[in-house]
């Protein structure tokens, strides 16, 4: 199937690049988010009282001034939670309100409901806290020294890495750190709880996992699941930050609503949101690698230690995924990966686009870059000799055979189209004559495993109604956070029913329509919900086809659905007319659909098996410039070749590639979370936490899709695209390393942690110069 360049022979067919289903609402300011929905009469507004101390015994809170403040209607502490005071998604270690002990500075201790937003927020600041401070563990290093873990360490070992290291011609050790990252969804956390007449609760919430909010609210209120309905039409961004983090706020709103018998809205302001919600895990990566003269890895001992914060949250699966991606696209014959899930007195870190994958890849890419620089080789050559094979050298450290390896061909194609080699020479020539501004270039690949590692999450449901006027209402278990899921699934249904998309209305995610839905996460939204919706559409289509076949006396398989019409032999009927007559003929016009991902299994205890249905691939070449006087840096040029299979919507997929890439650049080069020595977050607003702006989008970018459908039977042979492009930004980080290395004429490998802020770049430049001079 391959031509000499490694490209697949047949071109791939993409679905139409339709606009986002809400695009016209977005641009007109008409798209309603949770805070925009008209509030029921008498709605109260809530605010949280946050712990001023990182760790301590909570003896009590003096709430007299809070209760007496103007507008205050109710105040709750842990003891007021009617049911379980817990929102832990896996472990039960995440209190809604601190009980007995405070675990981090910013932990919610009490909540107040008042008649206005400002009165609630003012009142929340009037509490007196009686807290006896306890020693606080704030960093990974402190946690490792104290063996402080939220979950036990995990070790994945294959072969005999110690012997392979001892026998290797070359050995290197190294240590590098990657920082956390705030999601900075533009819409902060928000929930509106409305009491129902029968004691139940209706919750509007900005969430990637309405089903979990439903469970948590039910638990907190001591209700059955069916008494709680959770709804979310859209989020103003999620990125993983609303996979578990919203539960606490939804529960607080629901408890206050239950107590006051009034609707209660809790909308965090930006500062509280950044202080009180989890972020991407910061990692410490330590390695010892043994390799041959060409840079082929022979043995690797890798430690991945993450800061998890005070509770487990999703840290188990996040760190599992880091382990699962510490190979990236490379064959590691004898390998040990040690994963430490450190417990610290900081906010509990959580899902964030890539979910540990970026941190795992960060480690191996740093290892290979160091190997290349130790050997004086082009890092691309070292990466290339380490790629997985297609029939051998193709089993991951956790025992999964890589069946769909396109990384070598994809990287070769990108190196060609981007003129990587030529440009690398040009960069070096420039650097010889430029004493202050230095350029750097790098190419890195991405291989990202698609499926939830929690196997039971790999299922989805959909609900489809055809009305007697031929219009269609679509609901599924996924949520819309901007990624275009609703647009894609609508297109899938339109294609099955042969209807223009305008005839299909997508509706809010709603726990009363599709039960037990998985979070919209792990890039799986369209894979799962697209299939479930297709299943529902096919059931309806089959029923309608059978009806038409009976009516027109033809075979059901001769009934076709196209362009809003139903074609059967010589007859062509408008779909609306068919729907109407089907209704009168008492054909059921509502169907559910279901999908469960095949072929996946894995042993959570040993981290072995086939956790992923398939891999999504990509690669990027980035070129940067740094200023060796100030450390200022700029991204100059990017070439991306990314694998989306047969795209469900190329415009949306391109948006995911571009947005993921720049968010990755933010993680690696700009966004710095700073805590002081008391464990207080110092960067809790955009004034101090700097995400990329439009200027950070480079002037020269070329993006292409790998022209091959998914080899697995996914929805229309597409591939998941939400997370994989995030890691393309590793190319830009390595371009920075390349530029820093040039400051000492490439004599030594730079020591550079992420985020590579101006300050870290300057320090790295000075450090390589000093080391090279020795």
């Amino acid at each position: 199937m391959n031509d000499p360049r490694g490209l697949p022979a047949a071109p791939v067919e993409h679905a139409p690049a339709l606009p986002h289903e809400s695009a016209e609402l977005h641009v007109a300011g008409r798209a309603a988010y949770t805070d925009d929905v008209a509030e029921p009469l008498g709605t109260l507004h809530a605010a949280l009282g946050l712990s001023p101390v990182a760790h301590g015994r909570l003896r009590g809170v003096d709430l007299a001034a809070v209760r007496a403040a103007p507008g205050v209607v109710d105040v709750i502490v842990a003891a007021d939670v009617p049911g379980a005071n817990d929102v832990g998604p896996i472990q039960r270690d995440d209190p809604i309100l601190a009980d007995g002990v405070v675990h981090f500075a910013g932990q919610p201790v009490f909540a107040v409901a008042a008649t206005g937003v400002t009165s609630a927020r003012r009142a929340a600041r009037l509490a007196g806290y009686a807290i006896d401070p306890l020693p606080a563990i704030l960093t990974i290093d402190e946690a490792l020294a104290a063996a402080s873990y939220v979950l036990p360490p995990v070790h994945v070992v294959r072969g005999d890495p110690a012997r392979a290291l001892a026998a290797a011609p070359h050995r290197l050790t190294g240590e590098v750190r990657s920082g956390g990252q705030d999601h900075f969804y533009l819409e902060g956390q928000v929930a509106l709880a409305i009491p129902a007449d029968d004691g139940g609760m209706h919750v509007l919430c900005s969430t990637q996992h309405p089903g979990e909010v439903q469970q948590m609210v039910a638990r907190a209120l001591g209700l059955a699941a069916h008494a709680v309905v959770v709804e979310c039409r859209r989020m103003g961004g999620g990125f993983g930050g609303k996979e578990t983090q919203m539960s606490l706020f939804a529960c607080v709103a629901a408890i206050l609503a239950r107590r006051t018998a009034r609707a209660v809205k809790l909308r965090l302001d930006r500062d509280d949101d950044m202080i009180a919600t989890g972020k991407r895990h910061a990692f410490l990566h330590r390695y010892e690698v043994g390799f041959d003269d060409e840079g082929r890895v022979l043995g690797l001992d890798l430690t991945l230690a993450s800061r998890c914060g005070f509770s487990a949250d999703l840290s188990g699966p996040v760190n599992d995924r880091a382990v699962f991606h510490a190979d990236n696209a490379y064959w590691l014959p004898d390998v040990a990966i040690h994963s430490f899930r450190c417990k610290t007195n900081t906010v509990s870190d959580t899902a964030f686009r890539g979910f540990g994958g970026p941190q795992g890849m960060f480690a191996i890419e740093a290892v290979l870059d160091d190997v290349a620089r130790a050997l004086g080789r082009d890092p691309l050559d070292v990466r290339t000799v380490n790629f997985y094979g297609t029939h051998e050298r193709n089993v991951t450290p956790f025992g999964m055979t890589v069946e769909d390896n396109i990384a070598p061909a994809l990287v070769a194609e990108l190196a060609r189209t981007s003129r990587y080699r030529e440009r690398r020479e040009a960069v070096r020539a420039w650097n010889r004559s430029s004493p202050v501004v230095k350029r750097g270039i790098a190419l890195t690949p991405v291989k990202f495993g698609i499926s939830f590692t929690a196997t039971h999450y790999n299922q989805a449901g959909a609900l489809l109604h055809v009305y007697s006027d031929g219009t269609v209402s679509l609901n599924h278990g996924g949520t819309e956070m901007g990624q275009g899921l609703f647009t894609k699934v609508r297109q899938v249904v339109a294609r099955e029913l042969g209807l223009p998309v305008e005839r299909i209305r997508v509706s809010a995610s709603d726990t009363s329509k599709v039960p037990n839905a998985s979070p919209t996460a792990a890039s799986s939204g369209s894979d799962l919900n697209g299939m479930a919706a297709q299943d529902a559409a096919r059931k309806l289509r089959a029923r309608i086809a059978a009806f038409v076949a009976r009516k027109l006396d033809c075979a059901p398989q001769d009934v076709a659905f196209r362009d809003g019409f139903v074609h059967a032999g010589a007859d062509t009927l408008p779909f609306a007319e068919v729907a109407r007559s089907a209704y009168f003929a008492r054909v059921p016009l509502s169907a559910t659909g279901f999908y469960a991902t095949p072929r996946i299994h894995y042993d959570r205890r040993t981290l072995t098996g086939r956790p992923f249905f398939y891999y999504a691939y990509g690669a990027a070449v980035s070129e940067v410039a740094i200023d060796t006087l100030t450390g200022e840096h700029r991204l100059l040029e990017v070439d991306i070749l990314h694998d989306v299979g047969a795209s469900l919507n190329p415009a949306i997929d391109r948006g995911q590639v571009e947005g993921g890439f720049l968010q990755g650049w933010g993680w690696l080069a700009m966004e710095e979370l700073c805590w002081n020595d008391k464990g207080e977050l110092a960067t809790h607003a955009p004034s101090t936490y700097k995400i990329p702006t439009s200027r950070d989008w480079p002037a020269r970018v070329r993006i292409a899709f790998w022209p091959e459908p998914n080899r697995e039977q996914t929805i229309h042979r597409s591939k998941a695209v939400g997370e994989p492009p995030f890691m393309l930004a590793l190319s830009a980080f390595h371009a920075l390393r390349d530029a820093v290395a040039s400051a000492a004429d490439y004599a030594v490998a730079p020591r550079l942690d992420a985020p590579a802020t101006d300050e870290r770049i300057l320090a790295a430049v000075e450090e390589v110069a000093a080391r090279a001079a020795r």
Partner: protein, 503 residues
């Protein structure tokens, strides 16, 4: 007393008499008017989700400017025309070219930042002609998007000009030749605004708070002398955060915004006199005529909405050690003129700031103007800002070097620094190390060592003390490379990004 606020909201006259004056425009739009298209993303003017466009009379024409509704206090909009995102779509549902371009280019994903981008682009649309990438980056510096990577929005900024232009105030505002419009409803808007003019200023009170906005410098000086305890507020780009972030009740506020003569900028033998009420944008434009070397620093000062709302007087009087106007003004030997009642006094700017956020302004006194002396012959001027992000960030270090080089010698040196001391500061020891020495690499390298040791900066989330010192010295090294070295070498990463040099 107790006059209502009057403004045009999406073209219709609205009077307000029962809303506390320290209510933000955003809260009023969302909570009182149920115009929920305008979003809150940060409540501090840093993300742009709340951007609206405000039209004000500018002579016979209208000036259309983006504004951060989250930190604009409602009475400051008295006498203006406020347009929110809801107003752009025509009555028949046709999208505005800015909106259609955003749809066509797939410029929205989650959509939450989108209304703000649409309004910032609409403000750009109302300006003349084609926009370069630089123009668009400047226009969007105050708008954050977390989804798209910005490429489709940058494309939309070009595409919007290619779509058929609507009539009336929604139109581009200028013909292709750059001439101002003759649109009838723009003129009508201007007339409506003229009818809202208040020759005697505004004195508004509600819910126990008061807003006094005198209409002249004299009246402002009198009001401040009469209410020495009252907080003076100009663009509110900082004061509003005391409301939105600290939830403070500021009692009585005296606003400078209605005093037209306080915003005047004049040139005379004593130099450029910039009224304290002049917006940062207007002040920078005036400074740019004489000191074009400062342009980059001004374009990196916050964002367009902040520069049009904020005033130079406010930046100086607020006295933040990281206010970016002051190091340059100090290097230019600017003076401040203070006024109490009818009495004025002048002070060197470097003597105005006496401690962390403390100034020499006495209770009841106002900052009347900033006077920048004429450009001396032979002036070599550079100003550089270093921060974590190029656009819309607070300086880690800001340095402005003003040297006079005569016959190969540095005749005179003034250096203003920000971010390295509790106040914007003059680097006197470094100035001494330069003055009288040859204009050479060796001199600047030696002086860079002095500059690195001159201040005792702090460690904070923006930068460490060590980094600030090192960069400060290195900026002096950059000065030589940029202005003295031959042949010239590249000193700025941004030049590579802009020129296509990388190929």
């Amino acid at each position: 007393m107790a006059e209502p606020i009057r403004l045009l909201l999406n073209g219709a006259l609205v009077t307000v008499d029962d809303v506390a004056p320290q209510t933000t425009l955003l809260a009023w739009l969302r909570e009182c008017r149920r115009l929920t298209g305008t979003k809150e993303g940060c409540a501090e003017g840093d993300c742009g989700a709340c951007t609206v466009v405000v039209a004000r009379r500018d002579g016979a024409r209208l000036a259309w400017r983006p504004l951060n509704a989250c930190i604009a206090l409602l009475p400051s909009l008295d006498g203006t025309a406020v347009f929110t995102v809801e107003s752009l779509r025509a009555a028949d549902g046709t999208l505005h070219p800015v909106q259609q371009a955003m749809v066509d280019c797939h410029g929205s994903q989650c959509g939450f930042c989108t209304p703000g981008f649409v309004m910032s682009l609409f403000a750009l649309y109302k300006q003349a002609g084609a926009a370069t990438r630089e123009d668009v980056d400047v226009a969007l510096a105050g708008n954050l998007c977390r989804c798209t990577g910005y490429r489709p929005i940058l494309d939309a900024a070009q595409r919007m000009r290619e779509l058929p232009a609507p009539d009336g105030w929604r139109g581009p505002g200028r013909a292709r030749d750059g001439s101002p419009p003759a649109a009838a409803d723009e003129e009508r808007l201007a007339q409506q605004l003229a009818a809202l003019a208040r020759p005697d200023g505004l004195d508004y009170a509600a819910a126990g708070q008061r807003w006094i906005a005198p209409a002249s410098e004299e009246a402002l000086a009198a009001a401040c002398a009469a209410h020495p305890e009252a907080q003076v507020v100009a663009g509110a780009t900082d004061v509003a955060l005391w409301v939105t972030k600290q939830h403070r009740d500021l009692g009585t506020l005296i606003a400078t915004t209605a005093a037209a003569d306080l915003a005047r900028i004049g040139r005379g033998p004593e130099g450029l006199a910039i009224g304290a009420g002049a917006s940062l944008a207007d002040a920078f434009a005036a400074l740019d005529e004489t000191f074009p070397e400062l342009r980059e620093a001004w374009f990196r000062f916050a964002s367009v909405p902040i520069r049009t709302a904020g005033t130079l007087g406010g930046n100086v009087a607020n006295g933040s050690p990281i206010g970016d106007s002051m190091p340059a003004l100090i290097a230019l030997a600017a003076q401040v003129v203070l006024r109490h009642g009818a009495t004025t006094r002048a002070l060197a700017l470097e003597d105005f700031h006496v401690g962390y956020r403390r100034t020499a302004r006495a209770p009841g006194e106002i900052l009347a103007r900033i006077v920048v002396p004429p450009r001396p012959p032979g002036l070599l001027l550079r100003a550089w800002k270093v921060g974590k992000r190029y656009d819309q960030d607070i300086s880690s270090v800001f340095a402005c070097f003003a040297l006079r080089v005569e016959d190969g010698r540095i005749a005179h040196a003034r250096i203003g620094c920000g971010g390295v001391a509790p106040v914007p500061a003059r680097a006197r020891r470094t100035e001494e190390a330069l003055a009288g020495r040859p204009w050479s690499e060796a001199t600047l390298a030696q002086a860079a060592g002095v500059l690195e040791r001159e201040f005792a900066p702090i460690d904070d989330m923006r930068a460490s003390a060590g980094y600030r010192r090192r960069v400060l010295g290195n900026l002096l090294r950059r000065l030589w490379l940029d202005a003295g070295a031959s042949p010239r070498v590249a000193t700025r990463v941004g030049d590579l990004a802009a020129t296509g040099e990388a190929r």
